[in-house]
Chain length 274, copies 2
């Protein structure tokens, strides 16, 4: 009789385990379609706000670095109130401030402008003779399959010379970005080992992001870096991730809602990026 | 002793239920962040290709209507090879061809250009005096909270007059859209009951979609409609869904990869849309 009871007990326990599993699975969040989960999400370039809003001084952050990290493991952008240049590599996120030091982002700190993706390289472009950044960029452009897609870029190596910049946190009323970068702090590294990461944006996204290249740099010890102004490359290979999906999250309030985005800001952009 | 065994049995069953639930929850798909699951996905405007590519004759479809429907229950666009004007309302999708008839889309048929969202209105704008489409659009623009966001629009009612158009399927080499619409078929409806659906796009997405309004119409019996050219509104109310997230899926091959998207096509767009 005791044995019967224990047998029944085991059967009830097994059934309960099964029922519990079924209930829990039924309560699990539903799939939201192929382009928003799993692999398709990895092929999405995720962007916060627009470059034209940033150029006009929309510097208040609208999403947290913790949230940004759920949309990619590689990326660039800037800190809240323009406080530092953002570099994300291997799922680690850093801000390079005007003292030239890189420090890990606080997860609950915000960004006003950032771009991220999960980096799965589709292409490796070998560089076998010395080039400056302009020559390197021109060369890469001959290798990409279409000028109408987005590409994430990663270049690890030891570089004879790397020039970066950073900008200081701003106070309201915020000046335009080209006026801030007129007083940027510039850093020069020689024979430095590190990683350049960033994106190539097609001209179809003009006003939304920076058409062409936008790269940031971080040293291999993850202690220094910045927005890439120039570099000399001896040899190495550039990894490229072709990205056909683009997601943009616009700020749900703040200065973004009233800024005039109808102007052509190409000249401002040239001043701000170089 | 039997009672003891049964008590232990009940305890084991309860524990098993809990463990089963925990295991199943641990195995459930992870959340991918608020912007890609559930409610946030409903607040995303999903777009296939770009208007500037369509204006230049990129008419081969790149995603199926079945896939489009996983990203929204309301939308507009066109058929493969420009074969008909697409209208999606209440999760039902129709193509209006040059005979003026609306017919349900085949799920495996493709679209070269479309925009869709899950329609959850945030705002209802009452219309209490007669207006033509231009006046209606101007009035709505005074009601939206920001000109820098995307809005989905739905207007159900009986309208004194509605003017729509459709265009025929094209053969390669594809002509430009403005040359196709020069020979569009125009339909005029009087005292017609139906639904106008579509989007208001901010100027930041110029070249990507149609800045300002882009609306299509379908009759209440879902038998006729087209791209909206003009309408007269007596009274009613317009529903508006504010959308801060924008996702664009670019074609993974075909003519899109080589088309020149650097031109300003505003004049082409005016000719094609009116």
């Amino acid at each position: 009789m005791v044995q019967d009871a224990l047998l029944r007990c085991a059967a009830v326990a097994a059934a309960s385990l099964l029922i519990g599993a079924c209930i829990a699975l039924a309560l699990a969040p539903p799939s939201v379609g192929p382009a928003l989960g799993g692999d398709a999400d990895r092929e999405t370039l995720y962007q916060v706000s627009t470059i034209d809003a940033l150029l006009q001084g929309v510097y208040d952050g609208s999403i947290s670095f913790d949230e940004l990290a759920t949309h990619g493991d590689l990326g660039i952008g800037c800190g809240d109130r323009l406080d530092g240049e953002l570099v994300g590599v291997d799922g680690e996120w850093y801000l390079v401030r005007t003292d030239g030091r890189a420090s890990p982002t606080a997860g609950n700190a915000m960004t006003p402008f950032a771009t991220a993706t999960f980096f799965d390289p589709d292409m490796t472009v070998p560089i076998d003779e010395p080039k400056n950044l302009t020559a390197l960029e021109g060369y890469l452009e001959t290798k990409i399959p279409s000028k109408n897609l987005f590409y994430a870029i990663r270049f690890d190596g030891t570089f004879p010379r790397v020039v970066t910049r950073s900008v200081p946190a701003q106070e309201k009323p915020y000046p335009r970005l080209a006026d801030v970068t007129a007083n940027q702090t510039v850093f020069t590294f020689e024979n430095v080992t590190g990683t350049a990461v960033g994106f190539w944006t097609p001209v179809l996204a003009k006003g939304v992001n920076v058409p062409g290249y936008h790269l940031h740099f971080i040293t291999s010890d993850r202690n220094a870096g910045g927005h890439l102004l120039d570099m000399t490359v001896a040899e190495g290979s550039v990894q490229v991730d072709t990205t056909t999906n683009f997601t943009m999250v616009l700020p749900a309030g703040g200065d973004f809602w009233t800024v005039d985005l109808s102007e052509n800001l190409s000249e401002d952009l040239k001043r701000a990026e170089k």
